[in-house]
Symmetry: none
Subunit: 206 residues, 4 copies
DNA sequence: TATGAATGAGCTTTCATTCAT
DNA sequence: AATGAATGAAAGCTCATTCAT
């Protein structure tokens, strides 16, 4: 009877939630170990310790699992990035604060390059993908930051500026992690900082 | 006799060449219509009006066909871009010339957005892919341009600057074409121009 | 409830076992009717009344099915042969007991000449094939028999003798069944008996 | 014109003959290097330096090429074996002459074990195959030998005896070359000699 | 709810053979 | 006689998804 109670302890929703998490974790692992091509539903189910049929109780199809894995990653990334933005919000935008932000981003991306590679190189993207949604969230974050610091003095459309800056920094950082060019990490950060700073200066000056 | 000559005109290499072209064209079409996932060798063969077996007389495997389609696209892109660079080489780097270059790039990418989407979003990339090779070709082009214009005055590592600028502009332009943000095209070009110009100015000043 | 129990009786292992048997039987049939070349996995699946995909749930590849068919045959053969050896062990080796053994072997091989033909003529053999393993099992059987009857008096290496005798008798018997020479069956048995007997006599005498 | 004459020197039949030989040689090489599975007509044509289409001018299908390769091998084997028989015909059948014959056979088979393996293990045999025809030729040879030496005294059916002896010795010798058992070569020859000799003695005595 | 056996269309690739030139 | 491009059926095998239990 205590066994029964314990089993019933976790209500339906929680059980379901836990199951979803387990599947996502399994998807993450399989994606990491075998890439997108090798990530078959059967393999994910096996990694999750459930039957392939059960998978479809929680996810409508394979891609929705992958999407959820991407979401977890973007959530973690967003948390890190917004923390940096929060810090940056405290002082004025200086080359140093820009540099810190970039460094943090690079560190974040470099934490799991293998997953990053799968996410960026192997996953079929699409405008309504989770990755695109993530970019938009960062757009908002940066727009907020810009509005906060350039309040009134912004001679330029903040949305467009954010949009451009996000895609700029994102691709430079991702490419650096994945393509490993023969350029020193510090140099990349320096140059990117220089470019962004020059642009921001121009914005307030203009 | 002229008929004979004309018929014999395409004896071997030309016939073979024509076949290769037909297959690439078919690959291009199928890629466009059914995406990478749907681009099966049988489908490409059918689109080319040949048998699946014939395909393998001209290409060793499926990916080599796709790679060739990509190569065609990158070659065309490279031709356009290098033409702009050649023009830009004639005068000093001004906001106007930067702007023209960006405009041309955007136009080039915008010419076949559906193919661009397949190439960027669906194709499995990798550091040794044709797309990556293309980026490196543009790196070289830009590095040359920078060396030409900043000769002596460059306070910064030209290779790193090229690498960053290429990835910056590429992603901004591609994202603009594929994600169609609610930002005016002119604004994107303006801002990108501003950023790049500010950075270049900084380079010579620093 | 008995119905339920009966239905549940074959829960997993038994169902699986039955499926394996069905596939092996289908493999056997297809092998018989279409030969090794015509025994495609799709054909075997169809003969088993299942889908090609199901086949691979029970067998890793085509050859493993064929191997299993061979194993069934060799197991049956081994059972018959070892039964004869057991009988022969009871008395001393006489021309009559040798003759009985040979007759039994010939009968066994002659039971399914079509399958024998496929196994011997069409299957790609190799030193590590099931057929080779079977021969080695008979080697052991005969060596045991020889050691039992010639204990002490064997002037010859028992292993080598077994090895030679097995290959001798095997090929003569198989060739007789498959090539159907215009020689009377009794004559073949007589001569083979004579040869083996003479050799055995020589052994103890030598 | 001398050129013309030279070209015409080799009449049609000879040219054709030479072509056939070239194809057979190519078939032999490909069989050796890639096995029966890998011996595609295209590969044989390429090895012969001709087009696949030309192959079919000289051979009706793939198997006829293979059959011809087998024939060449059996012809060479037959030549060697009949030479030994001719020598043996000079004196009476002694253990020594039997032994010599067996040794020669083993040597002959051991000369090209890789080809032997392909011929024996990979080729689909059949009662009307060239290998079977070869065996019959050896049957005749041995029958002749037996008739010569046992003339009058043969208490046994010579055809049956030949048939059995040929299949016995063939399989023992082939198995020894291909399976490489851990038995000394001399021991195998000794035992086989003993068996055959005992049998032959029995024949004349009986 | 969970299972996992079953599905079957579809994949890439090969190859004996043909036939227009 | 010779070519070699072209064929197209067929192979072994995978995998997202379903469904009877």
């Amino acid at each position: 009877m205590p066994a029964d109670r314990r089993r019933r302890r976790m209500p339906q929703q929680d059980r379901s939630r836990a199951m979803v998490e387990r599947i996502i974790a399994a998807g993450h692992d399989v994606l990491l170990e075998r890439g997108y091509e090798g990530a078959s539903t059967n393999r994910i189910a096996q990694a999750a310790g459930i039957s392939p049929g059960s998978l479809y109780q929680y996810f409508p199809d394979k891609d929705s699992i992958v999407a959820e894995v991407v979401d977890r990653w973007t959530d973690a990334m967003h948390a890190r990035i917004s923390r940096v933005f929060a810090q940056a919000l405290e002082g004025p935008p200086t080359p140093l604060s820009v540099r810190d932000t970039l460094l943090e981003l690079l560190d974040a991306l470099d934490e799991n390059p293998r997953l990053l590679r799968v996410l960026i190189e192997e996953l079929p993207r699409s405008p309504d993908s989770r990755l695109a949604a993530f970019e938009r969230r960062i757009d908002d974050l940066l727009a907020m930051w810009l509005r906060f610091h350039l309040r009134g003095r912004a001679a330029r459309p903040v949305e467009a500026v954010s949009w451009i800056l996000v895609r700029t920094v994102e691709n430079v950082a991702v490419s650096y992690v994945l393509d490993r060019p023969v350029i020193d990490r510090a140099v990349v950060v320096d140059e990117l900082t220089a470019m962004v700073t020059a642009y921001l200066r121009e914005m307030t000056a203009g």
